[in-house]
């Protein structure tokens, strides 16, 4: 059985999005021109978008089924969201950012320092950063903090919306390296929106190519079916 499946239909003015996607543990990269509906899909899965029709299943949980008028609210979906800039709270230090994901509100700094979650913090090598503010961290360090927060949250699915797009090229590489090392270790399926072929390659992600609100093609990165003749795909795969 697939780890997740998504059927979404959404109308926004002239724009009509209608997609069916599913995936396993391997990350799924959504690619396509701006306005093709990539972010709308992510937001739809998260429950942040008003959808005309939807069926969203993650693991054993049905999060949205418009036929049965069932729609789990955002805060109860337990999905992790890493938007542009990674969504770290600038007014909280690293430890507070990580602990903000603790629903039971019982974890403390001590649990991160030497308690049950200290291995998370140690494996990511962010223990010395716990008292710093996000603005004092490098891009790669921010990515690690965001991932540590994901690990505390223990979500069923991780959704990344161009997490590194606002960064310069070196910082992007740092983020990509952290992601490719850690995301597979998490053992949690993920969907990411990206404009960068290197993200797809380094994460060994499957690709779903979106065009004008429809899924045009799905496949793995090597020999993505029939990219000839499509200007966007040619350009996408021509990236170093």
């Amino acid at each position: 059985m697939n780890c997740w499946e998504v059927q979404i239909e959404c109308l926004k003015g002239d724009f009509h999005l209608q997609v069916e996607l599913s995936g396993g543990l391997r990350p799924m990269a959504l690619i396509g021109a701006n306005g093709s509906g990539k972010s709308t899909i992510l937001r739809g899965v998260l429950g942040l978008e008003t959808l005309k029709r939807a069926f969203v299943r993650v693991g054993d949980h049905i999060l949205h089924d418009s036929k049965k008028s069932c729609c789990v609210p955002v805060e109860d979906r337990n999905l992790a969201y890493l938007p542009q800039g990674l969504g770290l709270f600038p007014h909280m230090n690293v430890a507070e950012n990580i602990l903000f994901a603790d629903r039971s509100n019982t974890l403390t700094l001590a649990d991160l320092m030497d308690g049950e979650h200290s291995t998370t913090v140690e494996n990511l090598k962010i223990k010395p950063l716990l008292h710093r503010r996000p603005e004092e961290l490098s891009a790669g360090e921010c990515q690690k903090v965001a991932l540590a927060r994901v690990m505390i949250q223990k979500p069923q699915l991780v959704l990344l919306d161009e997490p590194a797009s606002a960064l310069d090229i070196l910082a992007r590489r740092e983020v990509r390296e952290v992601l490719s090392e850690q995301l597979s270790d998490l053992g949690i399926p993920s969907i990411l929106v990206t404009h960068d072929f290197r993200d797809v390659r380094d994460l060994a992600a499957d690709i779903a190519y979106l065009k004008e609100g429809k899924v045009e093609k799905v496949g793995s990165a090597d020999g993505f079916p029939g990219s000839e003749g499509d200007e966007f795909l040619n350009e996408f795969f021509a990236q170093p």
Binding site: E75, F89, P90
Partner: protein, 270 residues
């Protein structure tokens, strides 16, 4: 004088200086004059004058109370103005700005027509035994009406510019809207909110016209510092100067604080 790229600008022509300097002087001279004309011993004596203390206490309590009311009611209102998808909120936002442009005397008359004995709320207020005009509450109300738009503007902009992605992330982390408002939105917008609160407080402290018409000028009841300055000027110049100096000092303090908060109006969004 040459600008950075070596080109001559308006100032270098001399004409710019001749036109610009008078405005500069007329803006700063009154403040200097106040400080210079104040004889230290006489000002000190004035500071201990009961009339001064009474007006200062009234000004501080009424403006603080006005500020608390503005924050309590203005924060949710600004939130609605910033986030409501309806076009209605834009229209209302414009109407709420009106007291900024309106002469305070007009606001005073408006308050009388609304809450005065023969005003539209008059009968109701009389029935519940409330007599607002020419009372301490009238002072506070005049200050609220005049000052609130400054807070509303600043808070609305701050809420509108706050990073929505961060609110979305907080939702996905399982937090309720109320928790998100207090733990994410308010801290993110704190600079904009503080700047608005300071501006509103400064405006409330200086309120004169609307207070005079709606609350009157009764020492110990409705006479705030600006009204007291107006009343004392004929009787005791030094007392009036002492009162002015206190307001000047408060204004300078507020200005310094405002600069700190206005550097980054959206506050912490990096």
């Amino acid at each position: 004088m040459k600008s950075e790229n070596g080109q001559k600008n308006l100032l270098s022509s001399g004409l710019g200086w001749i036109l610009g300097v008078p405005l500069f002087l007329i803006l700063v001279l009154p403040g200097f004059a106040l400080v210079l004309s104040a004889g230290l011993s006489r000002v000190w004596a004035a500071f201990l004058d009961p009339a001064f203390l009474e007006a200062a206490a009234l000004s501080l309590t009424s403006s603080m109370l006005a500020l608390v009311l503005i924050l309590l009611s203005g924060t949710p209102l600004a939130w609605w103005l910033a986030r409501s998808p309806s076009g209605l909120s834009r229209g209302i936002e414009m109407i709420l700005d009106l007291p900024i442009i309106l002469p305070p005397a007009v606001v005073g008359i408006g308050l009388l027509q609304a809450f005065g004995r023969s005003g539209i709320m008059g009968e109701f207020l009389a029935a519940v035994g409330l007599n607002l005009p020419f009372s301490f509450m009238a002072v506070v109300m005049a200050q609220v009406v005049i000052a609130a738009p400054f807070y509303l503007r600043s808070a609305t902009v701050a809420f509108r510019n706050a990073d929505r992605d961060l609110e979305d992330v907080a939702k996905t982390l399982g937090h309720s809207p109320v928790q998100i408002f207090f733990r994410v939105v308010l801290p993110l917008c704190r600079r904009g909110l503080m700047a608005g609160a300071l501006l509103a407080w400064a405006r409330a402290l200086g309120e004169f016209g609307a207070t005079l018409l709606f609350a009157g000028n009764m020492p110990g009841v409705t006479q705030t510092l600006p009204l007291a300055i107006f009343s004392t000027l004929e009787r005791d110049v030094h007392l009036a100067i002492a009162m002015s100096l206190l307001l000047l000092a408060l204004a300078l303090l507020l200005l310094a604080l405002l600069r700190r908060f206005e550097k980054d109006p959206a506050g912490g969004n990096r």
